[in-house]
């Protein structure tokens, strides 16, 4: 029991299950999945689809945070990505041709990669603090997106592009398949190669890593570039969902949701040890939470407050200190004589009581 409680995924998964239960209580058919035209339909499938962009952004964010960094610019990069892709399609004479769509995707991803490289340059070469370095692009990026769209919300009709947002592949939403697929590949690469360990070493002790021959600068640079690329892909999914590029509102606050997903998943903002499976659960929790608000019928007036309360609860339960206290609580019945009341409040006094 204690081991289960101590597992790093216990609280995030518990929160996810609790949210699903709450939804099922409010709307009994919530978990039902039906097959229509060979595609799967239902609220859980919908959640997978809406999680997709957040999952991609949170994936990049996890890697950046592992190196002690943070990337605030990903929301702006999402906007740039959508703006580039849709502007290209809109200006093309043949918006339904796959070549046009593929060029648009390629252009958008290439530019987002460049933006990520720019962030990485500021952080790893110029040594600017990550929060400041990425703040630059966070503000400037939306301006760039505005320039590209000419200050208007660009809308297009392009069947091949629309597939990204609302198409299905093997019965599943294309967006979800893409995001979860990319996530799985990256997670596999990070953990099967030495990349994960080298990133963690860089995040925990950059000086020691450098002296040990780790190319910390290159690694740091790479993760920012990757974060830009993943945010670009997320931007494509978001703009394909609405078929509109909104420079001001696309991916608004997604960077904060992504940071939240990382934290809920149990990766500390101080860098070092990171946990991709936790990020996955974290992203699902956030997407489910947004869904819950409508299903349970919470007034829009108190929605932000409700979400804040849930997030506070999960992050508190996830914090090491809280977890120590909880494990102390579960062991308390074994205690014989309680020590001084003052020390009873200390988490590491549990060893005494456990005797």
């Amino acid at each position: 029991m204690t081991n289960l409680l101590r597992h790093h995924l216990f609280w995030p998964v518990a929160a996810l299950v609790a949210l699903l239960v709450a939804n099922t209580v409010a709307s009994p058919g919530f978990l039902a999945i039906t097959v229509r035209d060979g595609h799967l339909f239902g609220a859980p499938i919908d959640i997978l689809r809406t999680t997709a962009p957040l999952l991609l952004v949170a994936l990049g964010m996890t890697l950046v945070i592992a190196t002690r960094g943070i990337d605030l610019s990903v929301g702006a990069v999402v906007a740039v990505s959508g703006a580039v892709a849709l502007s290209h399609i809109a200006s093309s004479p043949n918006p339904d041709s796959p070549v046009t769509v593929l060029t648009a995707i390629g252009l958008a991803l290439a530019l987002c990669l460049v933006l990520g490289v720019w962030n990485g340059f500021l952080v790893s070469v110029l040594g600017i603090q990550p929060i400041i370095a990425t703040l630059i692009l966070m503000t400037a990026g939306r301006g760039v997106a505005m320039l590209i769209t000419g200050g208007m919300i660009t809308t297009v009709n392009s069947a091949p592009f629309k597939v990204l947002g609302s198409g299905f592949w093997l019965g599943l939403p294309v967006a979800a398949v893409l995001a979860f697929g990319v996530f799985a590949v990256v997670a596999f690469v990070v953990r099967r190669t030495a990349l994960g360990m080298l990133l963690e070493a860089t995040g925990i002790n950059p000086a020691a890593s450098r002296l040990s021959g780790v190319r910390s600068k290159t690694l740091t640079w790479t993760v920012y570039a990757a974060a830009g690329l993943f945010a670009g892909l997320a931007g494509l999914l978001i703009s394909a969902d609405t078929m509109a590029a909104d420079a001001n509102n696309a991916g608004l606050f997604i960077e904060l949701d992504a940071i939240l997903a990382v934290v809920i998943g149990g990766t500390a903002l101080s860098g070092g040890k990171f946990n991709l499976s936790g990020t996955l659960v974290g992203a699902l929790v956030i997407a489910t939470l947004e869904r819950t608000v409508t299903v349970v019928g919470i007034s829009p007036l108190v929605t932000p407050l409700f979400m804040a309360l849930v997030v506070i609860a999960v992050t508190l339960l996830q914090s090491p200190r809280m977890r120590e206290r909880l494990t102390a609580a579960t062991r308390r019945p074994v205690a014989t004589t309680p020590p001084e009341p003052q020390s009873a409040a200390r988490p590491d006094s549990t060893e005494v009581k456990a005797r």
Binding site: A194, N205, P339, E351, R355
Partner: protein, 508 residues
């Protein structure tokens, strides 16, 4: 066993501390009496730090009682302990370098006025405390601008603010030079004469004998006994500490075979006019295979800076280097590493170990970094490699998955050595590899260095302990004021000779 004239101010009885599954302390007693300097002795991992932390409330003992002034207590943490007169100064200076000296000293006991801080009174009070310590520094200067030694004294100064009955000094001398140590001892004796009970932890046996009145010896988490310093000969103390005879140490006395090198050999690494502004003046140095070159000099003489230029940790702005006769550029640690140069920094915590990773990950880090992230070492090979180094270097606990921050200093140092040995270097530069570690581990590391050289490796060895440098070096380069001033043959050199060179030839 000993006469109990004054009642102890601290009485710890039957203390056990567990970090499951490890029992770090097992039924240990410690008695501290007012007006006494009490040394706590033991090898790395003997439980010295754990015992101190049990007293100050950082660890909770699973068994045993702690009495302070006859009252049974369990402190909730260092702040609580300090409030009851038990202050600690840790091995690493735990102060805020960006605050002023006065702020650091008075932190937590700041004089207040009108709901704000009374800055003038703070500086005045701090000045009084500093004066008592015989320190003539400006209380308004920032702490970071002072040497480590001064910071250490400031830390002690801070600990004695308020009602201090017990002062715990954990390795206070490990980064001090001889004069600074003498100064510290004067301060300690003055505090003792004021009736303070001092618990002194040090690996320097001569210092322990010089300053302590009584000692408690621990081994492997158990109490060996309490002794009166004057009644316990050194060799008996060492036997108590390491549980084996002096032979190990004796063996280390003659670790290096002083075989001559054949004339006309190409140096493995040759530095010509290598230097860096503000760091070390241009110097020439030749390093040969199978040879240990010691760097001698005081703290700040440039010995560390020289080592950093040789290993790419800092970039030289003058001079050339040749590796095995071929021009080589040592621009980064990575470039040096690719040439077979390994460097362990003197700052083990800041620049050496990655404390959030495991022993296994720390050992393979160098080798893996060199292979690149795309070619991970096969797990089986890693496990064999790690197991063999744990065995060969005697790393404790012998658990590859243990987090490095849970290891003692000496064991962390061994892990660091293992990381570099795994890369099979041709030149190994060791900066203070034996600082702050115990006699047994020290002898093991010296032996290891000698063995590596005998196997053909070239070693540069830096240590603040001159005896150690003399003992294991074939050649010694002496540094003074950031300049290489001499190079002498290790075989014929005597202590006096080297001390003269370091001091500047009769300047003293």
């Amino acid at each position: 066993m000993t006469q109990q004239t004054t009642p102890p101010v601290v009485e710890m009885t039957g203390i056990s501390v567990e970090f499951p599954p490890v029992k770090a302390l097992d039924g240990v007693d410690l008695h501290l009496r007012p007006g006494e300097i009490h040394a706590l002795m033991g090898e790395n991992g003997a439980g010295k730090s754990t015992l101190i932390k049990a007293l100050t409330g950082i660890h909770s003992p699973t068994e045993g009682t702690i009495r302070v002034d006859g009252v049974e207590r369990r402190f909730t943490g260092p702040a609580d302990a300090r409030a009851h007169g038990v202050s600690t100064v840790y091995q690493e200076v735990n102060l805020c370098g960006n605050l002023t000296v006065a702020e650091n000293i008075m932190l937590g006991a700041e004089p207040r006025r009108l709901g704000g801080l009374h800055w003038r009174a703070m500086r005045r009070q701090a000045a009084t405390h500093l004066e008592r310590m015989g320190l003539s520094i400006d209380p308004a200067s920032s702490l970071g601008s002072h040497s480590l030694a001064v910071q250490q004294l400031v830390a002690i100064c801070r600990a004695t603010v308020g009602d201090c009955k017990v002062l715990i000094l954990d390795e206070p001398t490990s980064s001090l030079d001889t004069d600074e140590v003498a100064h510290l001892f004067t301060v300690m004796r003055a505090l003792r004469d004021d009736g303070v009970a001092i618990l002194f932890v040090s690996h320097f046996l001569d210092q322990v004998y010089e300053v302590s009145d009584r000692m408690t010896v621990l081994r492997n988490g158990r109490l060996v006994g309490e002794f009166i310093t004057a009644d316990l000969p050194t060799h008996e103390l060492v036997q108590h500490m390491i549980g084996r005879s002096m032979d190990v140490l004796e063996a280390a006395e003659h670790v290096v075979e002083r075989a001559g090198r054949p004339a006309g050999t190409t140096p493995l690494l040759q530095a010509v006019g290598l230097g860096r502004k503000g760091s070390v003046q241009p110097f020439d140095l030749e390093l040969y295979e199978g040879e240990v070159v010691g760097l001698a000099g005081l703290l700040g003489s440039g010995r560390t800076e020289l080592a950093r230029l040789l290993t790419g940790a800092d970039r030289a702005d003058a001079g050339q280097t040749r590796m095995a006769g071929k021009p080589a550029r040592l621009r980064t640690p990575r470039a040096a590493m690719d040439l077979g140069i390994a460097y362990t920094s003197e700052d083990r915590k800041g620049e050496g170990v990655v404390d959030g990773l495991t022993v296994r990950e720390n050992i393979v880090l160098g080798l893996q970094a060199r292979r690149g992230w795309m070619r991970p070492l096969p797990r089986k090979q890693v496990d064999e490699l790690v197991a063999s180094y744990i065995e060969q270097l005697g790393i404790r606990p012998a658990d590859p998955e243990a987090l490095l921050r849970n290891l003692s200093g000496g064991n962390q140092q061994k892990v660091l050595l293992a990381r570099w040995l795994a890369t099979a270097p041709r030149l190994l530069v060791l900066d203070e590899p034996t600082r702050g570690i115990d006699v047994g581990a020290k002898a093991e590391i010296q032996k290891l260095v000698a063995d590596l050289a005998a196997d053909g490796m070239s070693v540069v060895f830096i240590s603040a302990e001159l005896e150690e440098v003399l003992r294991i070096s074939h050649r010694i380069a002496v540094l003074r004021d950031r300049r290489k001033v001499a190079e002498i043959d290790g075989g014929g050199a005597t202590m006096d000779q080297v001390v003269d060179l370091i001091a500047g030839g009769g300047a003293a």
